[in-house]
Amino acid sequence: MPEVKFSKEHEWIKLEGEIAIIGITKHATEMLGDIVFVELPEKGSSVEKDGTAGVVESTKAASDVYTPVSGEIVDTNQTIVDDPAKINQDPEGDAWFFKMKMKDTSEMDSLMNKEEYDKFAKESSS
């Protein structure tokens, strides 16, 4: 099974070959509340590790989405643009944000695993 890693900005990233699938964590959606708008990066655009790659807006506030790794956006999930509520329903499954061809898969190494992220999320919200 491909490994899932997590960033401090509450994104998850799953590597399948050299394609990374990226979304926001369940913990992030719980902090944001009901998501009502999402803006995704353009297909074909290049993004740098820790750069912004979209926006999510809840009824409360707007938050930037960061990319935890560098590469080229090869696909975006239009179903969450049409129905942002899907992000609250299944953030770590069907409601992925974008797929990326990674520049350097070793960037995965510096990210947190599930256990480390759960601990980080618990500490950062308390």
Binding site: D34, V36, F37, S58, T59, K60, A62
Partner: protein, 365 residues
């Protein structure tokens, strides 16, 4: 300063409230179901809002009180009937709004509902302006509970049957378990509903009874989306000390009979009514699904800055982003095309009529 709690704090916690600090109080921003579902439940059914942080100010006095209060508020208090409420303002000498409020005539005086963040200052202003012979009290022993939505009449009617006779912006004293409570038919959601002023000791019990009859607790988050859809102003966002009621497009709340009278800011208000204003509050709808929040800059087609958004959110019932803001009055007519600067990009939008959502007040019973 210590953050205060309302008498419903334990109830909020037991219903999974996310608490935030608001105007010096621990208040529920939302409960476990979230803002969208709380909003929709209020529109389709009935929500309960703890608004006990708001000021409940009582002024008692003799027959001169009405005349003296007319020197402060720009409304016709002399024709206000007992148990009738009116929306009004406390204004500064420049006609700027220090607070927006609801004033109700009661048996021996007036009850005024004030914004939480303004109440201490309002109290100070009124103390200074009114003769010491009047009794003024900002009640700390009363809670305020709003019951809002199409189901409100039936739910409250099961507990106090007489309330079904109240009309919008009218109130009365009722007895519950031998205790007096004061109820007005009013609210801040655009729906039919009631505001219940009740002693702190039984506020939690009374709220539980309303919950048992099928209403749900609703947080400040949904209160904000509901009021914005109804085109109602939030003090601090849409109204402030630099903005007059005329600029805020609330001219209707200045009594016609009072236009030539003296009250704080009266000269400026009269002038603005006669010759117009430079900026005006308007409704704004972006053409896309992007949300324009407070402080978003507004531009015309020639890229000239013409105003600023003061409130903006996603309207769950209109299913579209909605905003209010102030624009140069030359650009205030309905369907004027404007541009909003959001995250460095210009997004097209249109001036639109308020409210975004049709109000459902019960004006006749």
């Amino acid at each position: 300063m210590e953050i205060k709690e309302t008498s419903l704090i334990n109830l909020h916690k037991s219903y999974g409230a996310k608490l935030v600090e608001f105007a010096g109080y621990h208040m529920p921003i939302q409960y476990s179901e979230g803002i969208l579902s709380e909003h929709k439940f209020t529109r389709s059914n009935c929500g309960i809002f703890d608004v006990s942080h708001m000021g409940q100010l009582f002024i008692y006095g003799d027959d001169n009180l009405t005349k003296d209060l007319e020197k402060i508020f720009p409304i016709d208090l002399q024709s206000l009937k007992i148990n009738q409420s009116k929306y009004s303002f406390l204004m500064n000498e420049k006609g700027g709004i220090c607070d927006d409020l609801i004033i109700t005539k009661i048996k021996k005086g007036y009850m005024i509902i004030l914004n939480a963040a303004c109440k201490a200052n309002d109290f100070k202003i009124l103390k200074e302006k009114l003769d010491i012979s009047y009794e003024i009290e900002l009640k700390e022993d009363l809670s305020l509970i709003a019951l809002q939505g199409p189901g409100a009449k039936n739910i409250l009617g099961k507990v106090i049957p007489e309330i079904t006779n109240l009309r919008f912006m009218h109130g009365g004293e009722f007895i519950y378990n031998d205790l007096k409570i004061y109820i007005t038919r009013s609210g801040y959601t655009g729906e039919d509903g009631f505001e219940i002023s009740i002693s702190n000791e039984i506020a939690e019990h009374f709220t539980k009874v309303l919950l048992e009859h099928g209403s749900k607790l609703i947080g400040l988050g949904a209160r904000d989306t509901l009021r914005l859809e109804a085109g109602l102003c939030l003090y601090g966002n849409d109204l402030d000390a630099e903005t007059t009621p005329i600029e805020a497009n609330l001219k209707w709340a200045i009594s016609k009979k009072r236009i030539n009278d003296q009250y704080p800011g009266s000269e400026i208000i009269k002038k603005q009514i006669q010759s117009g204003v430079k900026k005006l509050r308007v409704g704004i709808k972006p053409e896309t699904k992007v949300i324009a929040r407070a402080n978003t800059k507004i531009f015309n087609e020639e890229n000239k800055e013409i105003g600023k958004i003061t409130s903006g959110t996603f309207g769950p019932s209109v299913e579209h982003p909605i905003s209010m803001g102030y624009v140069d009055s030359n650009y205030s007519s309905i369907d004027t095309k404007i541009f909003l600067e959001i995250r460095g990009k210009k997004v097209s939008a249109n001036i639109c009529k308020l409210p975004f959502y049709k109000k459902n007040y019960v004006k006749e019973v």
